[in-house]
């Protein structure tokens, strides 16, 4: 299957390894990858700050870029939700409404695509470590991604998954929220990290690198000594 890859800007810039792992896993699942190199950002920072016009102008670039795609896959619950759930709202009543609705229909979050579109759960991965899952809020509540990553991890050899109490609690990132209200954001990061710490897991795994950047950022300075890893990176390990 031909897959257009949508790599969020912060993964492109700060965490290219997540993108590389995504390519590897999708290829292993039999996909032909197309990566339009003109990609930038989906416009979520502008949208979440309340700037509709600016969001549309960035969004139109995305609509152009993926206009010929059959399926668009992104290793981010948050950025997938922006395109899948919020683009139709952002472009409603504009000349781009139909294009936005179409892109919404063909856009998939990475784990959802593997499990529900391709019907694949076993990627032949091996990861001999103790991990705990963080459910990113956008993936969880906008897209209904909850069981998919767990189904995929279940098939990974030698992995030990321990659920934390606060798996479904927000990590406190929230985009610009993290710098607009740092005290609250940090407090939420603390709750998340302490919960992860109690599982004694070596890794916190998630389908959202933005959450992981926050969890790692908090844990590095305040503990516990936990590493973060994107689901795609575990599935790429052999």
């Amino acid at each position: 299957m031909k897959v257009h890859l949508f790599i969020p800007c912060f993964i492109d810039t700060l965490m290219p390894d997540v993108g590389i792992a995504t390519v590897e896993v999708l290829r292993r699942a039999g996909c032909e990858i197309i990566y339009p190199t003109g990609q930038t950002c989906c416009g979520q920072p502008a949208f979440n700050s309340g700037y509709t016009e600016q969001t549309r102008s960035i969004g139109r670039h995305m609509l152009d870029l993926f206009k010929d795609a059959e399926a668009v896959v992104s290793p981010s619950g948050s950025c997938s939700a922006m395109v899948k759930v919020f683009y139709p709202q952002v472009f409603a009543g504009t000349p781009d409404e139909a294009r936005a609705n179409h892109l919404s229909e063909i856009t998939w979050e990475f784990s959802d695509f593997l499990v529900n579109k391709l019907g694949v759960t076993d990627l032949g991965a091996r990861f001999p470590h103790k991990v705990t899952i963080h459910d990113g809020c956008h993936g969880l509540r906008e897209l209904g991604v909850r069981d998919q990553p767990r189904q995929l991890l279940e098939k990974v050899k030698d992995i030990e998954l321990i659920e934390m109490d606060e798996a479904r609690t927000c990590c406190g990132f929230g985009g610009t929220f993290a710098v607009k209200f740092p005290a609250i954001s940090n407090a939420m990061g603390q709750v998340k990290c302490e919960s992860a710490g109690r599982t004694k897991a070596e890794y916190v795994v998630s389908g959202d690198s933005s959450c992981l950047m926050h969890v790692q950022g908090y844990a590095d300075k305040n503990g516990p000594a936990v590493k973060t890893i994107h689901l795609a990176q575990i599935l790429a390990s052999q």
Binding site: I7, C9, I11, D12, T13, L14, M15, P16, D17, I20, Y35, T37, Q39, T40, C41, G43, P45, A46, N48, S49, G50, Y51, T52, E53, Q54, T55, S57, I58, R60, H61, C137, H138, R141, R168, T169, C170, G172, G174, G175, T176, F177, V179, K180, F181, P182, A183, I184, S185, N186, A187, M188, G189, V191, M213, H214, Q216, G217, Y218, K221, N222
Partner: protein, 524 residues
């Protein structure tokens, strides 16, 4: 008798005419007197020195640094949420129940003017005096006028957020009346002169010792012997003994209302302590102050609405006491008939900004709220900053959604930004209010109501950059390179992300971007 000269409310002056049922922005324009803007609070205590945004940020910082208190609140909220989950599991389908509850409330709102008029007509037949109030001063004045006309001196109150919203207690005290709250939580915060911390559990932030302290120092020895200990039973008995005297001596009982029942002209009240029954039944006069959004079309709707209220709010299958008040005691011309119940019952229907929310189709569903508090109980913001930080009568997600449109988006819009948009509230709401998406809509309104020049130009610059891949790539390279060079500035005011860096690290700088990897061979 009060209807004629006291009904100065929104319906009479600005509301829809009695014959029309269509709603439009023009018929629901705001009342001529702006809604009262209650004083800001500082940890629940009244102060008038800080603007709401500054107050919120300062108090959030203090609250977030108080680890033991956060754990205390989080544990309490977690327990309520766990109990709720167990009770919800007893439903055949909680999701269908949410759909139906939302539809019932929505039906009431879509026909609100006809429903309220139907209520007025039926309530009047039941012997209830119905009054309309556009705003806070109007409610307070109408209550005071009823008190004065009946030579009443003292008031016993059961829990009512509508009266908190309009600061009725202060108005009554200023006018020289005695007011005592009979809900245990409300009584405690009344003694401490605080605002409710949580609109369902007003004193949930307090520990036993603090409650005993309030009883020891704020209740006079003439009124009661000292409380025996900080044992919950002793504390409750202490308050109970005081309350029992007040029910008998109060001239007027003031309550809120959970549902205004249109087809029956009745008011439904849900409570756990039995205090509302005594407040509404023992004094000679009963006054209900209730927001117009509490409208429910039919008596039979209570079967689901009261269940949802108990379950969503506290994880109860049904709240302890559910009472429907159909009017004052009924007697014939000779004075024969019922021997108990109040001699007069008044219902004051309160607008106070609700019609502004009604006029906004995008946010209108927020008026479905039944004030169960479930969204607060699951909100990570609430559990980390606490209720007083919000500086508004209604805390948590629903507070952040209704306070800006009801009290001013420019003044309270910041509450919509103080959210990570996690959506736990929306997932929980028993009447399916689109809470966290409303926060996004309010953010859009805020950029118009209170333009932020610097942020707007940053967003314009951001949009321009992101439309041009070359600019984006160059920008990313520059940012990564320069962040290292600017190390001496880290943490200072010149550091754009010092708010992040203070307590969090940033990811290391990768050797190449994903796009470079792709272009340099990853493609194959």
């Amino acid at each position: 008798m009060y209807r004629g000269h006291l009904a100065r409310g929104w319906r009479r002056s600005r509301g829809p005419d009695a014959h029309g049922t269509t709603m439009s922005r023009s018929t629901y324009e705001q009342p001529s007197t702006p809604p009262t803007d209650p004083p800001e609070t500082h940890n629940g205590r009244l102060t008038t020195t800080r603007i709401p945004l500054k107050q919120f940020k300062e108090d959030a910082e203090l609250a977030a640094a108080d680890d033991p208190q956060r754990l205390f609140v989080r544990t309490a909220m977690r327990n309520v949420a766990n109990t709720r989950a167990k009770t919800e599991a007893m439903f055949g389908s909680i999701q269908s129940a949410r759909d139906v509850a939302a539809a019932i409330k929505w039906e009431g709102l879509q026909n609100i003017e006809a429903m309220l008029l139907q209520f007025e007509e039926n309530a009047t037949k039941n012997g209830i005096n119905v009054h309309w109030a556009a705003d806070g001063p109007s409610v307070c004045n109408q209550v005071i006028e009823i008190m004065r006309q009946n030579n009443a001196r003292s008031v016993i109150k059961s829990k009512s957020m509508a009266t908190e919203e309009v600061h009725l207690n202060h108005a009554l005290l200023d006018a020289g009346f005695e007011v005592v709250e009979s809900d245990l939580g409300e009584y405690i915060i009344q003694l401490r002169d605080e605002a409710p911390y949580h609109f369902v559990f007003p004193s949930m932030h307090l520990k036993r010792g603090e409650i005993k302290d309030a009883f020891d120092h704020k209740v006079s020895r003439e009124e009661s012997a000292p409380v025996a200990s900080d044992d919950p039973e002793a504390l409750t008995m202490f308050a109970r003994n005081i309350m029992r005297q007040k029910y008998l001596s109060a001239d007027v009982g003031i309550s809120g209302g959970n549902f205004i029942i249109a087809d029956s002209g009745a008011i439904a009240i849900t409570e756990n302590e039995g205090n509302a029954r005594l407040t509404c039944g023992v004094p000679k006069i009963h006054i209900v102050v209730v927001g117009i959004e509490k409208i429910a079309p039919k008596l039979e709707d209570l079967a689901l609405l009261q269940t949802m209220l108990g379950t969503a709010g506290a994880g109860q299958l049904l709240t302890g006491y559910n009472t429907v008040y159909f009017g004052p005691r009924r007697r014939n011309e000779n004075g024969e008939g019922e021997v108990d119940g109040p001699e007069q019952m008044h219902v004051i229907l309160l607008d106070n900004g609700r019609t502004k929310l009604l006029a906004d189709p995008a946010l209108r569903d927020a008026l479905r709220c039944i004030r169960c508090g479930a969204c607060l109980n699951v909100c990570p913001i609430f559990s980390n900053v606490g209720g007083h930080t919000y500086g508004t009568t209604y805390q948590g997600p629903i507070g952040a959604v209704i306070s800006p449109p009801m009290r001013g988006t420019a003044q309270y819009g910041h509450l919509a930004y103080a959210s990570s948009l996690c959506g736990a509230c929306t997932e929980t709401c028993p009447v399916k209010i689109d809470l966290h998406h409303h926060l996004l809509r309010i953010r859009q309104q805020y950029t118009v109501a209170k333009p932020q020049a610097a942020e707007k130009s940053a967003m314009n610059w951001f949009a321009r950059t992101m439309r041009h891949p070359l600019l984006y790539r160059a920008g990313a390279r520059v940012a990564l390179t320069f962040d290292g060079l600017l190390r001496p500035l880290h943490g200072t005011r010149l550091d754009a992300i010092s708010a992040w860096r203070k307590r969090r690290s940033l990811p290391g700088k990768p050797t190449q971007s994903f796009t470079s990897w792709w272009q340099s061979g990853g493609k194959q």
